[in-house]
Amino acid sequence: MQYTKRLQKELQKIQSTPIEGITVGDVSNLQKWVVQLDGAKGTLYEGEHFTLQFCFPNNYPLESPEVIFIGNVPIHEHVYSNGHICLNVLYDGWSPVLSVSTICLSLQSMLSSATQKVRPRDNDNYVRNCFGKSPKQGRWLFHDDKV
């Protein structure tokens, strides 16, 4: 990797000053992290636990990481049933000063602001078309940019 210090420092920081509801799991491979995200209290997802997988490209953070839900995928209008997430900052809206913790916070707030548990309208179509592909390969039309 080009900026080796970057991920080491992120990991160090997230472990020394943990954020509520965000726990770093397996990081034996520094370029592929597993992070647990807890549904916040007082929201539709309270008491639920989700698992995120981060894959970092060689030129991270200049390029965004690939982030998907694995296992138990939350039912949310911006999360497809295959784990892909429709969130601007993961794609065109990425900036190299964002980080694992800022992404987790964005996702947490995205989940927290939900008023109903539904899948995206085009879920079946999308999942069929992008089978086996990375979410970063797709072209995203954002349903709304408020999150």
């Binding site: 210090k5 420092k9 030129n59 200049l62 900036s95 190299p96 000063v97």
Partner: protein
């Protein structure tokens, strides 16, 4: 043969011996050459490095100094002087000489590999120095802590009127004070404000955008090759808009001087 040509002939022979690792022969030939031409700095610096190779550091130091006397801008003179001083454990003097050699080699644009090895030696020395300083300070802190705790025990034994509660509070406070000191000395991370928001590492070449945010030049350049916004503020920003941040550079150099373990 005139003495200039004789000296050159002997020097070339000496250089061949040096290349073949026959350092004692090289020293003999350089000595003969010096008899013919006593004012040539290169002869002294060549003999200095030969002495260095056979662990004669004092001789090496003397020859380096002679080379510098003849040509105060001799890169190799300062470099070899620094190396021999380092071997003699005169670390602060060695630091000075490495630094002079580095500055001169920039001025005179010497071969890149020479420049890099001087730089690497300087950084290596600074790491060594800072480790030495940290170890020393840590030892003092630990000694004082042990002594203070012992004295507090003694007081408790000798003076039955002592307020136990207050005494143990003070003991606790002192303990955490010492612990804090110990941690400070073991500190190994640069402060966030001297780190690039992209690389998270201490900046070597800080450049500033029109929004006023400073980044490592390499990282912000690479970002701006594909995007036209400032990563932090998201305001428009093009490659041609960024400038070196000289204040940040001075601050970082100053910080690294005080914390050379971060080199």
């Amino acid at each position: 043969m005139d003495s200039g040509r004789a000296a050159k002939h002997l020097k070339d022979k000496g250089n061949r011996c040096y290349a073949e690792h026959k350092y004692k022969d090289a020293i003999r030939l350089y000595t003969q050459a010096i008899e013919h031409d006593p004012d040539c700095d290169i002869l002294y610096s060549n003999r200095a490095i030969s002495y260095f190779k056979i662990d004669e550091y004092k001789e090496s130091e003397n020859d380096s100094r002679r080379a510098i006397q003849i040509d105060s801008k001799s890169v190799k003179g300062h470099y070899y002087l620094a190396q021999s001083l380092e071997k003699q454990c005169k670390l602060d003097e060695a630091d000075n000489s490495y630094y002079k050699a580095l500055v001169l080699s920039k001025e005179k644009s010497v071969r890149e590999d020479l420049f890099l090895s001087i730089q690497e030696s300087l950084f290596g020395l600074r790491r060594k120095k800072s480790q030495r300083d940290v170890d020393l300070q840590l030892k003092v802190v630990k000694d004082v802590k042990k002594y203070t705790m012992k004295m507090m025990d003694r007081c408790e034994e000798l003076d039955p009127t002592i307020e136990i509660e207050e005494h143990s509070l003070k003991r606790y406070q002192l303990n955490s004070f010492f612990e804090q000191k110990e941690q400070q000395h073991a500190q190994s991370e640069a402060p966030d404000y001297l780190c690039c928001k992209i690389t998270f590492d201490i900046m070597r070449d800080p450049w500033i955008t029109p929004s006023g945010v400073t980044y490592e030049k390499k990282a912000i350049k690479e970002h701006l090759e594909f995007h036209s916004f400032d990563p932090v503020t998201r305001e428009p920003c093009k490659l041609a808009d960024i400038r070196p941040n000289l204040l940040a550079k001075e601050m970082i150099e100053d910080y690294l001087k005080k914390n050379p373990n971060l080199f």
